[in-house]
Symmetry: C3
Subunit: 681 residues, 3 copies
């Protein structure tokens, strides 16, 4: 069906007479798919056990009649007032014991059996009723799990946590060992004594905190799986998904991926940040990689401004189109928005929508409709895939553990460091997967591990095998520090990577705020944030600290190992240095970019498949750029022709030229899709 | 009786032997009025139902004997320990469910029937006892309502809120409609399910929040009215008031005004801010306007430093006199202080008082006594009034709604914007009323509406009628956005003002922090904070944005409408631009200042009445200024003569000259009152 | 036994096979003393009443066998999980009513009878079992009292507070008087109505807050004393101590000192601060002074980085040695660390230890062992003492009261001001005691009182007597303001010091942030933070404010009184001015430094006793410094000889030269100890 296009559709906010206009406008904008029902629970079940589906039948039938497919929500994201009124024990509590009250959304304890039972009951009704409906294309379970209620600390959660721990550890002795409870007199005698890491007089046990993050993720996933089980039973054969937000910490997208039939993402670029496309690029790569390259769905983005930041910038002309195409260029087969029609009331009435308060005679609706037409013009792109020779390792366990309290430096930021390592590859036009350390790596020529603070012996052994077999591995500082239970590996950092990296770290030297380090050697320049006192045990020093108490100590090292090599970076180099280092590793690995010599700001990716090979060129920069194609191709989407003269801007799409082009000029926010030879196979 | 002069008198803090000295010093300072009993509950009712009024009788009798009038408090501001001990359910709770404990003051839930019953019982005793006392001049109900306990979120308040909602909406369906509960599955089935907007996982329903602000104001007013009813019954004929603080958000002074016999204000200028007189000027104008120009009472200010700011600046010589006269110049008929004698203990012992710790041989007492004498020298000023041709619209509903969460920009500050629009009028010497949008406007030549975010159809219609009949109206950005229930008007901003303003706003463009916009056209210069994409529908653009994505779009517009014109400002212009614009509007409206060509820092107002016409000149600036009078007059208060030579300073007042003067020189903090011709009529 | 050397030993974190290695390494590092058992409760009493001491017997026996003495903890610092599980009422609550949960440490309400009973029961077992053990040298009660749980506000604490108040005041009338409850209607009818100062709508009664700080200290001390009573009963004759942290506010070290047999300190210098040795110097002087000069124990410091600051700097080479010697130079007879072996898990695994994760082949262990050897080489230093001619007054009551809310300025910081007055003496090489105002002062030639905000009549009278008898006293601003119950002294500041200082303060002039004052006269330069309007009543003005509203008013005064003089500083002068002033006072008092003309950064102290007289020279600065000794001496500890040529660095200690030296050169972080003549007596 091509690239899906559409958005969240919440008809319960409007009188039925508006619905007909909705369908007309959807057709005008080439909407193919809507997500419906996300917040309809209170409307379909106004009182416990009293059902009102008639209005929703009419919505579904109308959409089917208009040829629009539905990503049907299970409606469990926001329990109706009657439920929390009858069962206040479903309300979540924070680590301070403060209840979180109804009035917004997501006000339920994920461990609540009462909530889960009511949710399952509702999903059974829904699944049974709409199982065979012609509009039904996909199930959407819950909504943005963990977005607001990341963890609950109530007594119900505590009991669920204890069950989860019993399952994980078997015995209280094993728990004591795993949590290092001999410190600070915390040894448990019975599981009954265990509590969530509620606010304590000082730092709570870090292994307890880490397990509570694991448990929180598992508790949300249990909600998801309970609904999924109903759908599989009552409406078999329909794929299911949920909209993840892997840019946030509570939900481990890699752990969820096997339970989704297709990955789906909510992502909101901030128009006030000139580099937020870098964050998007990282998350899009992760989404694509999570299920092995399978196309994914951009389920929510904003047509214009959002309403939940302190200051909410609108998207200037062309930005919405550019960022939508960025998702497609990085593997998305759907471009959807929150939401179809802008609300008159409620907490998100200032969140932009495809149909603004001002109606269809507005810039936003015009840009939306133009994008719909443009996407509909290239249905062949759907289903194609990307190939990457580089993998960047990401691990929620490291993220969770690294950012706990009582660490050498609270200035360590797992997401920022991951982005900093992703950026040089992205800007060079090098395809990069983002995968967990447990993934099979033999297909990659180069692996970048930004901060594997938590690393198991098994994962370390797999990294060693990867290098031994010829891989190039880059590891950054403060990696290999602890095991799965946040216990320091014997002998200290880098623990099980010591032999592979050919060094040990004798002491951490976190840097004070604003301090700069100087590097000499193959990489000369500045670094900051962190340093280490590295003792070489086989590795060679490519760069060393100069000046200060670490004068002459290794800063960047390389250790030939088997048929490959392991590189180590014991500090946070400035961007140009990190880029130079990754370029060197890439050269050693023999990894080439999609387009050589990309101008600044231009993103380049390739998707390919039975329908052909497509080069995407997206211009995030501020000055007109000219790109020489790797081989002549046919322009299928563009703002202008591939001949060098005219500058392509974010205006209406120009008709594609028939002749192959060698070079293309992109204005700021310009987009071009080129069918490369073989594309018409 | 002339301008009242005095302060809060709390004799229970001192042994009786001090009271005699108090009366002597009061006479020396020409004190005419004291506020007594504010915090006397625990002393007059040491145990439930056990009364001890003897000591207070002696206080009242002593004051009466000294010819001093009493503004008698109802003593209900701070419940005694025995009450909260016996009834902890009267303690307020915050939105997180945290109880606020006794130990300070105002520790009661305004909705508590227990608190109200005890308060009413006390007021009955008081009113009955002192109804005919010769010292009694005025009743003072409660104290600074909403100062610390702005809202309570406890279960008692929740029940009261539900009653209030039932009264307001009649049915749960009407409530659902008003609150747009179809969003996020919040539809209520029964009023019993409704709660205060306690802390939720994310933004609570904004209409619920707005109604809770309304309810909070109403709950405090209900406390006030319950006591007022007792006074009317037990002590009829004595005027009643309470000390409002309209510079704060919780209490809507316009809604309270009809229930006060005279407006009364507590206001504390910050000596560390060079422009706090501007904030005072706005609030004083509001106080004067709230009851249609009736003289009001400055019930509390500080003789020197306060103690509740992070750093509490003393008032340098002359400042206390200047700021006291500012209140009179803007319509006050009373200048009172907190408090008479500085406390030795308790939370406000470092708050200055008329009699400092050091006793009467101190700068503060000397300045207090000099001011008392000065005010007593011009009794004829009392009762005179001001006339204004300009009105500035202020509306608590807009204030409350605008600053809720989930808005396009959290940087919008209703009070700041109001002050910014008031300032150019104040500095030009133009009299300005501050009134709600529901006020009759036909008497004004010019109306300024700084930010009517919330605007009903009715109020919009009244504005249109005002302009149609010849008025000049200035409306600032983000106005006319929502209705009384925070629902966006159909078609979007400016909703019901669209025809009047001759434009529509297609998209809001809140600006990032630190960003500057540039305007071209009739008003050239900078703007910031906010912009809009304005589509003209009849209005002409007087200035346009230049550069950036809004290049060429209208920034300031004017729309001739009927016999008047409506001006619109789609951004926040720098001060000089806003001043130029308001000058142009003023010229169009034919509004002249009290004194033409006022030097920087000099405030000029006129009060007039049967006793004559008085010009007030107050110098807030830092350099000596010379003012040419609009017509020759007789100096009745001054630091020096009206002849140009001597500079007037904040020293002892000089004797008024007999001859009319044409010109007067004011030193910094100088004050002059001139009786203009007709003043002796 | 010489200077004790060692650290916290927590063998329960490790399998027994590690213990043997521990003993070997301890011997290698010349460890003489370990603190054991701090967090062993859960291990020795795994279930209520079920005891397991066998493993600890083996630990004690092993240590005894290795000739290592034990500072034996009472193990009560962190209650085991079973205790708070069975008795959740022992958990503390904060002022907002939020419970503090287990999972860390110190999670008990100090007033809890349940906690205290369990603790006493445990201590009885321990004391009985180990009373005569050959390793036992010292009892260590609890741990870091008040470090995390500074105050508890629960109902149990409330009841205990009421008992404490009944004891203190006798009657509720006395309480009302002491607390000035006539203000804000707070008069109590019965003790039962009194509560802790839990969060109130605004500032709670300050006298109530002050008494709650007193009570909090007393409640912690009651825990300590309850255990001490058991030890005295069950293990008589063994000295007891606890590790205090007088750099923190909750525990009044002067009030505890009489109950300790030897003072003990935990202190962690921050390697990222270049001047943290100044803070250390102040605290070390206080520790030495608290029990009249008796040598004290540095019970905890870090060998390298800690883990609980936001960014935790390592100690560069030599720093650990330098700062350890600083403690000895200022009177310590023990240099111990937290902890012996770095934890693999738990909240402090990134806190450095004597044996790091990397084992003994590390810089840290090498430096530790070198220090152990060095300290062991000079056993004769132990037991010697310092003499000071200057006393600096410190008072927890003033500290507590000064920093309450509702003060003229929240920018006043008692610790900072104390440090600022201590620094010029320290840097000049002048020995200074830090003592409470109640201490006998006649032995001192000069007394500095940085900020005696709270001052009783009795203490003031003692100060007057001190000056009358010939003393030189310096008093800083905002002193003598309130009595013991935070009531302003009649007549205002400086209350009972008025006659002694020969002046009164008519008004406080706290300064706005960033404002500077200018002084003229004997002390010319800048000041900030605070000013006062001083009226001279016998004193002479040595410096005056110039410019601004206080132009010409006294800023620094001197009042000859009896045979001495009282100096007053009405502002916060810049460091050079304060130094000049204290130099002048010192000259008037005839107080000379230990070494004249000390180079910048060099600290100089003397300890003396039967074993001789030792001059300590410690170099905290960044440039090599040459020190001329007051008289020739013999180098007993040094980095190089006393001949001027070689620079002494933080490397391995050089062998002491035999010949007396006249001059010594110190490199940065250099240390020298010189036996002065008479040292071999």
């Amino acid at each position: 069906m091509g690239i899906r296009f559409g958005g969240d559709y919440n008809p319960e906010q409007w009188p039925e007479e508006v619905w007909a206009e909705d369908l007309e406008l959807m057709k005008a904008a080439r909407v193919s798919t809507v997500t419906a029902g996300i917040f309809s629970w209170a409307r379909v079940e106004p009182r416990p056990g009293e059902w009102d589906f008639g209005w929703f039948d009419r919505v579904m039938d109308g959409l089917a009649g208009a040829g629009i497919e539905v990503c049907l929500a299970t409606m469990t994201a926001s329990p109706p007032p009657w439920l929390s009124h009858a069962h206040p024990e479903i309300l979540p509590e924070d680590a301070d014991g403060r209840r979180r009250w109804p009035g917004a959304r997501q006000h339920y304890c994920p461990s609540s059996p009462v909530y889960r039972a009511h949710a399952v009951r509702l999903v059974e009704r829904l699944a049974t009723r709409y199982a065979g409906h012609p509009a039904l294309a996909l199930w959407h379970i819950g909504n943005e799990y963990g977005c607001h209620t990341r963890q609950c600390y109530c007594d119900v959660s505590a009991a669920d946590f204890r069950d989860w721990l019993r399952e994980r550890y078997g015995s209280v002795d094993a728990l004591n060992d795993a949590w290092s409870t001999a410190f600070w007199s915390q040894t448990y005698t019975d599981f009954a004594e265990v509590l969530p890491p509620r606010t304590a007089p000082t730092f709570p046990n870090p292994a307890q905190q880490l397990d509570y993050l694991r448990f929180g993720d598992a508790a949300l996933r249990a909600c998801y799986l309970a609904e999924k089980e109903v759908l599989a039973r009552c409406a078999p054969g329909v794929p299911v998904t949920t909209n993840l937000m892997p840019q946030h910490k509570p939900v481990d997208a890699f752990a969820w991926a096997p339970h989704l039939d297709v990955m789906a993402l909510d992502f909101y670029q901030d128009p006030f940040l000139s580099d937020d496309h870098l964050r998007a690029a990282y998350v899009f790569d992760l989404m694509r990689s999570a299920r092995g390259g399978q196309p994914w769905l951009l389920l929510e983005q904003a047509p214009g401004a959002v309403n939940w930041r302190p200051r909410n910038g609108p998207k200037p002309p062309g930005a919405m189109r550019l960022w939508s195409w960025q998702a497609v260029a990085q593997g998305a087969d759907a471009v959807l928005f929150f939401q179809w029609r802008q609300s008159r009331g409620g907490a998100e009435k200032f969140h932009s929508a495809m149909v603004p308060h001002g109606g269809p005679d507005t810039r936003i609706f015009r840009e939306v409709a133009a994008l719909g037409r443009e996407l509909a013009s290239v249905p062949e792109i759907a289903g194609t895939r990307s190939r990457a020779a580089v993998a960047l390792l990401a691990d929620w366990r490291s993220w969770w553990a690294l950012e706990l309290d009582s660490r050498p430096s609270t200035a360590l930021d797992h997401s920022r460091l991951a982005l900093e390592h992703h950026r040089p590859l992205y800007e060079a036009g090098v395809a990069c997967d983002v995968v967990p350390p447990s993934r099979e790596l033999s297909g990659y020529r180069m692996v970048v591990a930004p901060q594997l603070y938590l690393l198991t012996e098994q994962d370390a052994a797999r990294l060693a095998a990867y290098v031994r077999d010829g891989g190039q591995l880059v590891v950054s500082f403060f990696s290999g520090v602890v095991d799965a239970q946040d216990r320091v590996h014997p002998g200290g950092c880098p623990g099980p990577l010591r032999e592979l990296l050919g060094l040990r770290v004798e002491e951490f030297w976190p840097q004070p705020e604003g301090a700069a380090l100087t590097l000499q050697g193959a990489y000369r320049g500045r670094a900051d944030l962190w340093a280490e006192d590295v003792v070489l045990e086989g590795a060679e020093a490519l760069a060393r600290f100069t000046g200060g108490p670490l004068d002459g100590r290794p800063a960047v090292t390389r250790h030939p190992y088997g048929r490959g090599a392991a590189w180590y970076v014991a500090t946070r180099p400035e961007p140009a240095l990190l880029r130079a280092l990754l370029d060197d590793v890439r050269e050693a690995a023999g990894v080439a970019p999609v387009v050589a010599g990309l101008p600044a700001g231009v993103q380049a990716t390739v998707r390919e498949g039975a329908a052909g090979r497509f080069l995407f060129l997206l211009h995030h920069g501020e000055r007109t750029a000219r790109v020489t194609l790797p081989e002549p191709g046919r322009v299928v989407v563009s703002d202008a022709t591939g001949r060098p003269e005219p500058a392509a801007g974010p205006g209406d799409p120009a008709p594609p030229a028939d002749a192959p082009v060698h070079r293309i000029t992109l204005a700021p926010r310009g987009v071009a899709v080129i069918a490369l030879p073989g594309a018409d196979a």
